[in-house]
């Protein structure tokens, strides 16, 4: 009955600054997830000042040195638009060398608003207005590709400009490590053009799409729009990757699962999430309910579901995920 879907595990790196987990436990959790062979990737989040947490590149380096083959991603890299492209090119290429080819995934995003972040601090400290972030994200994506693939790279953008720069080391992954875009656009004042623009951007610029806080139906519609746009641009659609950033709390007592998830998310983002968002964003309840939710997304075209466990007992929840949820998606021959 199930369709093919892969799993990722999102490591809740922000728990470290909230005092709810320690750094070593987070790294061990990643190494353990690889040992189970049930996950194809590990993801960490990112933000410099707005939603503070251990820095993603340093953390991914630690994970890369401690694991062998699991994919390692940052999703999403909310600081992507404000990072310097020369530093980022070298740091990510070095991660690629530590991990070995075809393991690193950089899912860039715009950042800059929402989720309870202190965006003002970040905007002022780096002197980058929120309105510049989309353009900067686009330019950094194009700049990184140039720096990684050309012996002498030049780029002319509005914010990023350079000429004949020799960026080394080059990544091991050829032609270059994938750059995805994480986008979950919502209409602004009933204007849906934001969604169309985001769809086009993902189609044109990215090697994969990550999204979150959507229904299976919305996921399916957006994926179709992205793939259609890619066809029109003569870009590959078969190998175009995607991942759904999803949450789970496994507990037969659905109310308790909801309550813990809401508390976790409220703490994580220092905000008060409405019930409908928690319902949309977190698969909570019995294993059967969670399997059903994931099944719905798989049928809508999700290739990978990466799970963050919205719980203060990460270990126990991970065991339940491994033993009671994921096996339902392993095809028996």
């Amino acid at each position: 009955m199930t369709v093919d879907v892969k799993f990722g595990l999102t490591l809740p790196n922000r728990m470290v600054v909230l005092g709810a987990a320690n750094m070593q436990d987070i790294i061990r959790m990643g190494a353990y997830a690889e040992e189970t062979t049930l996950f194809q990737s590990l993801w960490v989040g990112d933000s410099i000042l707005a939603k503070r947490r251990p820095e993603s590149i340093a953390l991914l380096a630690a994970l890369a040195a401690r694991t062998c083959s699991i994919r390692l991603g940052v999703g999403c890299m909310a600081s992507f638009p404000i990072r310097n492209p020369f530093v980022l090119a070298a740091q990510w290429a070095t991660l690629d060398m530590i991990a070995g080819p075809d393991r690193m995934i950089l899912a860039a995003c715009i950042g800059g608003a929402g989720g309870g972040g202190d965006w003002e601090m970040e905007q002022e400290a780096f002197d980058i207005p929120t309105g510049h972030r989309v353009r900067r994200m686009i330019e950094n994506i194009e700049a990184l590709r140039a720096l990684w693939t050309l012996d002498k790279a030049s780029y002319e953008g509005k914010y990023v400009n350079f000429s004949e720069v020799i960026s080394e080391p080059k990544p091991l992954t050829k032609p270059h490590p994938p750059i995805w875009i994480a986008a979950n656009p919502r209409p602004v004042n009933n204007d849906t053009s934001v969604i169309q623009k985001a769809t086009k951007r993902v189609a044109r610029l990215s090697d994969g799409w990550m999204t979150t806080m959507v229904t299976p139906q919305t996921f399916g519609e957006r994926l179709e729009a992205i793939l259609t746009a890619r066809s029109e641009l003569d870009l590959d659609t078969n190998n175009f990757d995607n991942s759904l950033y999803y949450n789970a709390n496994i507990n037969e007592d659905k109310e308790a699962a909801f309550a813990e998830s809401k508390k976790f998310l409220d703490d994580y983002y220092s905000t008060d999430w409405p019930k409908e968002i928690v319902d949309l964003w977190v698969a909570h309840g019995s294993p059967e309910e969670i399997i059903g939710k994931i099944q719905g997304f798989a049928e809508a075209g999700v290739k990978e579901v990466t799970i963050r466990l919205t719980s203060y007992d990460q270990k126990a929840q991970l065991e339940r995920l491994i033993n009671e949820v994921i096996p339902a998606f392993i095809s028996r021959t």
């Binding site: 470290v16 750094m23 410099i48 000042l49 820095e55 590149i57 953390l59 994970l63 070298a90």
Partner: protein, 328 residues
């Protein structure tokens, strides 16, 4: 005579470009050193575009997770003046958390003759003559961001209000050393003294190479004098000599291979006499004597880079035939 009892291992990071090593081999070597009594630090170098190499921050993140005991140093952090100081302070804080308080930053101006640092700096709008001021300003910014909340800073190059970084480093204070290698002969007396006074005033320790005979000792003697002037106790002020090693019964061959190695590593900028001053070379006995001489000149610890194509073989000889005998 003070002699170092522990040593550092400097990983030959640029060697990934000329077949000396790979990132994986370097991590393995660091892991091995971490398990030995002889070593208490492992070092990587740094540069972005002037002397490119695998990035120091990423590499240190990996090293932090494959070692347990050794201090993890970057020496020197040559891109420190051009990197955004908030971003750097933030990444460094995470490294200190991952390593559980083992990070050691040796910052430097990153000045390179022949235009390489100027060319790198141009991408950040930084001229060579501004690097020393940026080194100082960025050190001050890092210390403030690591020690306090809601930091406001008004500098010549960077200003911001009300910034808090998290996580903070585990070490408090998190050490910042300065790496400098001013040559008394080539600089004016005042420029030489200024470079060393910066160390005495604002640094938690000093790292230096030795590219002419006794240059480490001459500079250290001056730093001791300046530390006293500043009211600081030289006995509590750490230092480390960044040195090379090549063990070979034929000393000429050892020096030839070291020169070839350094030519590949940096371009042909080091003369044979500089290579000789900077490298413990020859038989184990000769290497031991040279390391003892360096200690006698004031080096409290010494970090060694193997300037050879045979990294593993040389590492073995170094830990079996040389280092255990330097102090006894």
């Amino acid at each position: 005579m003070i002699t170092p009892t522990r040593f550092g291992l400097t990983l030959p990071q640029r060697g990934v470009f000329f077949g000396i090593t790979t990132v994986t081999n370097m991590l393995d070597m660091a892991h091995e050193a971490d398990g030995m009594e002889l070593f208490d630090s492992v070092w990587v170098g740094d540069s972005l575009l002037a002397k490119p190499r695998p990035d120091s921050i990423s590499l240190l993140g990996a090293l932090a997770s494959v070692t347990k005991k050794v201090a993890l140093g970057v020496g020197c952090m040559a891109s420190f003046p051009v990197r955004d100081p908030i971003m750097f302070a933030y990444q460094w804080g995470t490294l200190d958390l991952i390593s559980q308080g083992r990070m050691l930053l040796a910052a430097c101006t990153g000045l390179v003759a022949g235009g390489a640092s100027a060319k790198e700096g141009a991408l950040w709008g930084v001229a060579d003559r501004e690097r020393a001021a940026l080194l100082e300003e960025n050190i001050n910014i890092c210390r403030k961001l690591w020690n306090s909340e809601n930091v406001t800073y008004s500098g010549t190059y960077t200003s911001f209000e009300d910034v808090t970084i998290m996580p903070k480093p585990v070490q408090n204070p998190c050490p910042i050393w300065i790496a400098s290698n001013p040559s008394r002969g080539r600089l004016s007396e005042s420029a030489w003294e200024r470079a060393l006074r910066r160390v005495a005033i604002m640094s938690d320790g000093w790292m230096s190479a030795q590219t002419s005979p006794r240059s480490f000792g001459d500079n250290w003697d001056k730093i001791v004098e300046l530390l006293k002037e500043e009211g600081r106790d030289p006995a509590n002020f750490p230092n480390i000599a960044y040195y090379n090693i090549n063990i070979n019964p034929d000393r000429e061959e050892a020096l030839d291979e070291s020169k070839k190695f350094l030519d590949e590593y940096y371009g042909p900028v080091f003369s044979p006499s500089m290579v000789e001053a900077w490298t413990a070379s020859g038989t184990p006995k000769q290497c031991i004597e040279q390391l003892r001489a360096l200690a006698n000149d004031g080096a409290k610890s010494i970090t060694l880079r193997i300037t050879s194509w045979k990294q593993e073989e040389q590492f073995k000889k170094m830990v079996q035939e040389v280092l255990p005998y330097v102090t006894s």
